[in-house]
Symmetry: C2
Subunit: 424 residues, 2 copies
């Protein structure tokens, strides 16, 4: 008899954890993803700012599960989930399942602002980060030969929207790229014209962090020449000018959008109730209503605790993945399923060299020690000894030499497009 | 008074050497390239076979020339050279010159075979190498779920055309990727079905190398399960089937074309006589006829020595670059220009782990010692301590663990295309 088949969609933090948690279960697993690698998203902004290479934060999925004969990987994008027939349709073939774990994560949310969706840059995948890197470097090349001082100033104005960890870390990283790394490359460019602006719609940075640390973050960013504007929301961006909800304007070519996330488009391929941000409603045991064989976790799932939806962050996905795997094993063993309870972990964000904020249980701290903690936690969470070594080496190199080695404008996107058209 | 302006087109081995050789000359230099980095082309095949990351073999041009106030970099593609007015037109602005050094290198030559140009893969730039890497990995993903044994066999047949160093090294690297690295990733795939074929139109590999070393190379490739077919030329490739000039056929999805080079398209933008392979004819002093202020060097230049054109290899470009720079300095100092004489350096090619061939003057050797020499020469020729360290580390890692860490299918080309269209 064929073993029970568990299909997991998405090789992010949640999907990977679910596959690992099922390692000893009497099931065979197929992990489906449209990429062949797991991506360590929290460091994407470092690829975008020329500090890390894509391969430093991406890890081949097949390699993670080497030596597990009951594990299979299916490269493809899910187009439809047929809950009644227990079948998945992907662009590269169909899969039947006994249990299904949906862990496709989230995508950038522009809240319906079409001009922002069209002209801003995201930071959700490797392609995003390479596009941002190319763009940032191109702005300096263009500014270096621009005669019109107003245009030059716009080219050298970099705006990040969103005061969460991604926005704060990105703004800090751009500031260090501009302030510490690039000036010797452009001896004839006046770097005092550079402006870096962080916009946050709410009244504070890093929502949920204690006031003291929020203030520290604010001041640390200001020390790095980042203009932080709280209570400031974007309403339009045509590629040359941001229009704020308040009516103000910012002339810039660069808007990095880290201000919103919603459930991945996969949610639309599943005929099941959705809640806010297009997330799939789940039961206390993390199943879809009326489909106890289908679980949704992480950014894709809408789960309330103490009357509020859980945030779209990695720890939720990881804890829910373990829980969903456990519930499958309990079911196979004839036991009742258990309701999920989220345990809030710490908060950790860096603003740059020697500076970070950390909350762990009752402990709160900021500065050098928090920064060392940030470094170590991120190194340890990377998969594989090679990537840990490689990232450690890159960070040590930058720290010592104020140098970021990956400041390459590539791949040449237009060129790739042409080749892609040639080889479909 | 403005300093004499030397414009150099191309930041390959030749262009870089010319800019370095002019460091002490009383001139200002502008280096023009459509990329912002220098590329170490001899190791491109290692990016294509998932051993090195692009950033390992690419180096930001501006960083090379840091601290030289008379050096400028212009990012752009040359569209027209107006010899009469001493002006260059690029897609990002015009440049006037006093002296011009054309060092744009070569491009893939398909000898007019349209089907080959359309469906084969090149190995001349980073984009090429990423496209090849994506393709090779995709073939294994497709083969892993292919039911038809004939189609599966075609998916697992990899053909390299061209028995020069690039072809030999690529075939060896594909063999080790397939034989040593990938099998644990695809436990259900029968790797005995894989075929790697190296086609060479002439009767021997590595033209110009002594017979003994040519035989060694042939045997070393056979030991690595590479089928070497001499006196075999391609006439057509429709993406699924290669038709040989002899009439035979090979069912495959992969043809890597390392069988021909010609002068870069820049040659067409210069109104000056061309010789074979579209190369610009130059005088003994490396100038264009009737334009003593314009030099052409390397792959772009046609220069005969002892009745034969110089080969399109890096040492020619480097030696000619020094010579052109010297002639400019002699001219500025009121001295006569000197004719160029090429001194043949050695030959060095690796077939894989522990195996290489080397010719240095009267010395010829093969095997482990030649391989160690190959490693060292390539490490030393890379620019920058960081890249040397990083490449050494990657090679040591592979050697010890039979692992290539960059086996990532990315960037997602279709996705990039969409983004590119959104952000022109």
């Amino acid at each position: 008899m064929q073993k029970t088949h568990v299909v997991i969609v998405g090789a992010g933090f949640g999907g990977l954890k679910a596959a690992q948690a099922l390692a000893k279960a009497p099931v065979r697993i197929t992990l489906v993803d449209r990429r062949n690698y797991h991506l360590f998203q929290p460091l994407l902004y470092q690829v975008a700012t020329a500090e890390l290479a894509p391969a430093d934060i991406a890890y081949p999925i097949r390699k993670i599960f080497r030596g597990r004969p009951d594990f299979g990987f299916h490269l493809g994008e899910v187009q439809k989930v047929n809950l009644a027939e227990k079948k998945l349709y992907t662009d590269t073939g169909d899969l039947a399942y006994d249990y299904l774990i949906l862990a496709a994560g989230g995508e950038t949310n522009h809240f319906g602002m079409e001009s922002v969706a069209k002209n801003s840059f995201g930071l959700k995948d490797i392609e995003d980060s390479i596009v941002v890197r190319n763009h940032l470097l191109r702005m300096f090349e263009l500014a270096g030969r621009e005669q019109d001082p107003e245009v030059r100033r716009a080219l050298l104005t970099f705006v990040v929207a969103g005061g969460g960890p991604t926005g704060v870390e990105s703004a800090g990283a751009i500031s260090e790229l501009v302030g510490l790394v690039l000036p010797p490359d452009y001896p004839h460019l006046d770097f005092s014209q550079v402006r870096i602006i962080l916009l946050e719609a709410a009244g504070r940075l890093l929502a949920g962090i204690p006031d003291r640390l929020g203030d520290y973050t604010f001041r640390a960013l200001q020390d790095k020449q980042v203009e932080v504007r709280l209570n400031t929301a974007v309403s339009e961006f045509n590629g040359e000018k941001i229009i704020l909800k308040s009516g103000g304007e910012i002339a810039t070519r660069t808007l990095i959008w880290a201000a919103g996330v919603r459930a991945a488009a996969l949610a639309n391929a599943v005929d099941s109730p959705k809640a806010s941000l297009n997330r799939l409603v789940v039961t206390p045991a993390l199943e879809l209503p009326n489909h106890p064989e289908v679980f949704a976790i992480g950014d894709l799932a809408y789960f309330e605790q103490q009357g509020r939806p859980l945030p779209m962050v990695a720890p939720v996905a990881v804890q829910q993945a373990s829980h969903a795997a456990q519930n499958i094993m309990r079911h196979l063993a004839g036991q009742d399923r258990l309701p999920f309870v989220y345990k809030t972990p710490g908060i950790l964000a860096t603003i740059g060299r020697n500076k970070a904020v950390a909350v762990m249980g009752r402990w709160q701290f900021s500065g050098f020690f928090a920064w060392v903690l940030w470094l170590n936690v991120h190194i340890l969470r990377l998969i594989g000894f090679h990537n840990r070594l490689s990232v450690s080496f890159s960070w040590a190199w930058e720290y010592l030499f104020y140098d970021r080695v990956v400041r390459l404008m590539m791949p040449d996107i237009e060129n790739l497009r042409e080749k892609y058209v040639r080889k479909p």
